[in-house]
């Protein structure tokens, strides 16, 4: 009888547990499919909350936009990371659709192998990735279309770019909703849009990442440095490193700007990219660029043969050899952070970091009618350096040793606006024996409205190696920015042309949070030890020279036997060299010592400190308990 009740009780328990399990699974399945957008975003930059810009862009869609997401479930099964990311992309798209109020439609497809859906994914040029060599392809991409049959795609969603997901999607929607692309003209002495003549046979002339980024937002049209006419249908002209810009070209820019065209200009007292380019004639050409005539008319100037050295934003470089690296600050390479940017201006207002190499100094000319708004500037205490000091094999240690803090604000990039007069008061430049340029608009001597120009005194900031790393993902270039250089350029273009919604969106994702304490210890230690190291190195060199002098003198004298004094001198010199080397090694070791000590302290604090305290507490409590028990026993 009793065993039967137990049996039935067991059955009841099992049924109850099974029902509980069903309820548990059901709740989670339902929640997973319905409540995806309810969340609290605790991140500092609200990474997972849609920004104002996205809200505005989605609210302004006129013509309907359709977004088609292609995702192979197999990819999610084999690599769960992608399943999670897919869920996030889908959530976000649903949120977009609800914000766009019916103007944005979402469709989801499973491109199973050899299906029509897969064919359509391929037709959209989405990236197929084989799960195993030669096996079936999986997809995780997106295609967007609008009513005029424009197409925008994201070929493959990379989880590494999750931080930029909102930007990528919003930009895609924006481009579809605003199909008329703005036109940017480019005049560049650097192969920024891809090299016209590949230097290595078979090598594709890849454009710089910054140009890719510009092309995603605008239509880019290239002009040669001898162009005499800038078409008036351009919205903006971007000039990069104008070192051999013809008179005609300068005149064309002058007139374009006076007529209300916008300009973004990159000059450089020392373009390191240019200096590194192999020269066909073998003779190194000039690596500086400037537009003195135009700048004067606009009320600015670039300091001649000067670059900025800034100890406080200096980047780390390896000043040793590959085998024995010696990392130290190089003051001519700067990594600008928030304090070096004009936060009140939308262009740099939200950027986190901009990297520059040997940037120049911009100044307003006295009595200029235009206003000069600095956008990027060096730290207080930065110095102005002669360009020759860094042009040929700069010595970072020597630069640090000779560092003298300046007391001026050195401006790297500035916005110039206001009324301006032409730089060519005598009309278009005349060249002997050449027919006049056709289709040239009549000369104007003064700006019709305020001019709008942004000037940046560094061209190296456009170079990939200073701000971006790219890797090849099945033939597709995947780009990981480490600084916001590209965003700065696109922001500047966008701002100059008057579109602002995308600005706040860009670059929200870059979130490098370095150990600032370690960096400052490193800086201080370097200051302290570098001069000592320098002195020791000088001494070493001197002694080595003395030794070799002694030895050659002996050989020249032809004496077979050295006098005891000579022998002693050589011995002394040798001993000196050995001890100096030892000292030098000591100094180099000291450089890291403070940081190593910090690491050891932190390790100890985090691994042992609290456990030891807890153990002591346990022992004390245990002892108290025993003592109490004994006392109780004694009194009893």
């Amino acid at each position: 009888m009793e065993s039967r009740t137990l049996k039935s009780r067991q059955t009841l328990t099992l049924i109850a547990i099974a029902l509980g399990l069903v309820l548990f699974v059901a709740v989670n399945v339902i929640v997973n499919h319905t409540l995806r957008a309810a969340r609290v975003d605790l991140t500092q930059t609200r990474l997972f909350t849609l920004s104002e810009g996205t809200h505005r862009i989605l609210g302004k869609i006129d013509e309907p936009v359709t977004i088609k997401l292609y995702f192979s479930p197999r990819l999610g099964r084999e690599i769960p990371l992608y399943a999670n990311y897919h869920a996030r992309v889908r959530d976000l798209l649903e949120e977009y659709a609800s914000l766009a109020g019916g103007k944005l439609k979402t469709e989801y497809y499973d491109p199973t192998p050899y299906s029509d859906v897969e064919d359509r994914a391929v037709a959209y040029r989405l990236q197929g990735v084989p799960m195993e060599a030669g096996g079936e392809q999986v997809y995780f991409g997106l295609a967007g279309t609008n009513s005029t049959d424009d197409e925008e795609i994201i070929p493959f969603f990379q989880p590494e770019r999750e931080r930029f997901l909102e930007y990528d999607l919003t930009k895609l929607v924006y481009n579809l909703a605003n199909p008329k692309r703005r036109q940017v003209g480019l005049i560049s002495a650097l192969p920024i849009a891809g090299d016209a003549m590949p230097r290595m046979p078979g090598q594709m002339p890849a454009p710089w990442v910054v140009v890719d980024q510009i092309r995603q937002n605008f239509t880019l049209r290239q002009f040669g440095s001898d162009t005499a006419n800038i078409p008036s249908d351009l919205d903006l002209i971007m000039v990069v490193h104008p070192k051999e810009l013809s008179e005609d070209g300068q005149y064309a820019i002058d007139q374009f700007v006076l007529r209300g065209g916008r300009a973004l200009i990159f000059v450089d007292p020392n373009s390191e990219v240019d200096a590194q380019r192999p020269n066909p004639n073998g003779v190194p050409g000039p690596t500086a660029s400037d537009l003195p005539t135009l700048f004067k008319a606009w009320g600015i100037e670039l300091a001649q043969d000067r670059v900025i050295g800034d100890r406080f934003t200096a980047m780390k470089v390896n000043a040793g050899t590959q085998a024995r690296p010696r990392v130290m600050d190089y003051i001519a390479w700067m990594s600008l952070k928030a304090p070096n940017m004009n936060r009140n201006d939308a262009i740099a207002g939200e950027l986190n970091q901009i990297n520059l190499a040997s940037a120049g100094i911009l100044k307003p000319t006295e009595g200029a009618a235009t206003s000069f708004t600095p956008l990027l500037y060096a730290s207080p205490g930065a110095m102005s350096l002669e360009v020759d000091k860094i042009k040929f094999g700069p010595d970072p240690a020597q630069l640090l040793k000779d560092y003298k803090a300046g007391n001026e604000q050195l401006v790297i990039a500035a916005r110039v606006s206001g009324p301006a007069k032409t730089a060519f008061p005598d009309g278009p430049p005349k060249v002997e024996g050449r027919p006049p340029v056709p289709d040239r608009a009549p000369h104007i001597a003064e700006s019709q409205g305020p001019i709008n120009v942004i000037v940046v005194s560094d061209t190296d900031m456009l170079d990939d190696r200073f701000w971006v790393s790219s890797q090849d993902f099945f033939g597709q270039r995947v780009v990981q920015p480490s600084a916001s250089n590209g965003d700065f350029v696109v922001n500047a273009l966008d701002q100059l042309m008057g579109g602002g919604d995308l600005i706040g969106l860009r670059s929200r994702g870059i979130s490098a949070r370095p150990f600032e304490l370690v960096q400052s210890i490193q800086r201080d230690a370097e200051q302290q030890y570098r001069s000592k190291e320098r002195a020791l190195q000088d001494k070493l060199r001197e002694t080595e020279k003395k030794l070799s002098d002694l030895q050659t003198r002996d050989q020249a004298g032809g004496a077979a036997i050295l006098s005891p004094e000579q022998q002693k001198a050589i011995e002394d010199a040798r001993r000196d060299i050995i001890s100096t080397r030892q000292e030098l090694r000591g100094v180099q070791r000291d450089l890291r010592q403070d940081i190593d000590r910090l690491e050891t302290t932190l390790r100890a604090a985090n691994i042992a400190l609290v456990p030891v305290l807890v153990a002591i507490l346990a022992m004390v409590l245990g002892w108290v308990r025993i003592w109490r028990r004994r006392r109780r026993a004694a009194t009893a």
């Binding site: 099964r77 691994i607 245990g622």
Partner: protein
């Protein structure tokens, strides 16, 4: 409510009377620190966040939490105190809840004692403290889920070793259920809905989602429902064993 609190207090005090609590805390802290610095390369990484620290939490809990829960009911059964406990005028649910809450608060204390990590990262740089807070919250929730599973297994056996091994095994399944290893096993025959559901039932997936700095309602409901379900199982099993 009051009864639950009484049980809770009795249980929590009992942790700190025996050396168990101290040993657990010492091992938890030392292991977490060691893994963060030596395996996670916290310092050489040079980034002011606690990713290398929180990344090890699921695995630490996998080994350490069953050690707390294995004695939760098994010991009471062995020493016979379970009969005593159940003759008291309290309901089964109150007893189960009190015991669970005590263990959860205890785990919370151990977790809170990792505060030097948080100080360290703030001294070294400027971390996103919102993300750190979310990750701590997520970690504590996950600890609750581990504890609930362990608590449910505990009354099944008088043998603590068996309780430990069983708990670890089941927790392991929950920990890795989002990984390709497990999903591949199901993907051949089970419908997509089932596979997706299994993938969504992973501790690591849900914890990582919270540790990014976003507290998503469905991640919260996931952990809450795990805790609720296993506590329900716990009540059922204790009830059954009492009858038996």
């Amino acid at each position: 409510m009051l009864n639950t609190f009484t049980i809770f207090r009795r249980e929590l005090t009992s942790y700190f009377i025996t050396p168990l609590a101290y040993i657990f805390i010492v091992i938890f802290l030392a292991t977490a620190g060691t893994l963060t610095f030596f395996v996670g390369n916290f310092f050489t990484r040079g980034q002011a966040d606690l990713e290398p620290f929180f990344g090890f939490h699921p695995w630490l809990y996998l080994i350490l939490i069953p050690a707390i829960t294995m004695r939760l009911w098994a010991e009471e059964r062995k020493t016979g105190t379970v009969e005593l406990l159940l003759t008291l005028p309290i309901s089964m649910t109150q007893a189960v809840l009190g015991k669970f809450l005590a263990a959860w608060v205890f785990a919370g204390i151990a977790l809170a004692l990792t505060f030097p990590m948080w100080i360290t990262v703030n001294v070294l740089g400027s971390p996103d403290n919102g993300t750190v807070l979310a990750a701590y919250g997520g970690s504590w929730l996950m600890a609750g889920a581990f504890l609930a599973i362990g608590a449910a297994i505990s009354p099944l056996t008088k043998n603590q070793v068996i309780a430990f091994v069983l708990t670890t095994a089941i927790c392991f399944i929950f920990t890795v259920s989002g990984s390709g290893l497990v999903l591949n096993f199901f993907s051949g025959w089970a419908p997509t809905l089932v596979v997706d559901t299994i993938a969504a039932f992973s501790f690591i997936t849900n914890f990582n989602a919270i540790a990014r700095g976003v507290i998503d309602l469905h991640n919260l409901i996931y952990f809450a429902s795990i805790i609720a379900f296993f506590l329900f199982v716990n009540v059922q099993l204790v009830d059954l064993k009492k009858a038996g």
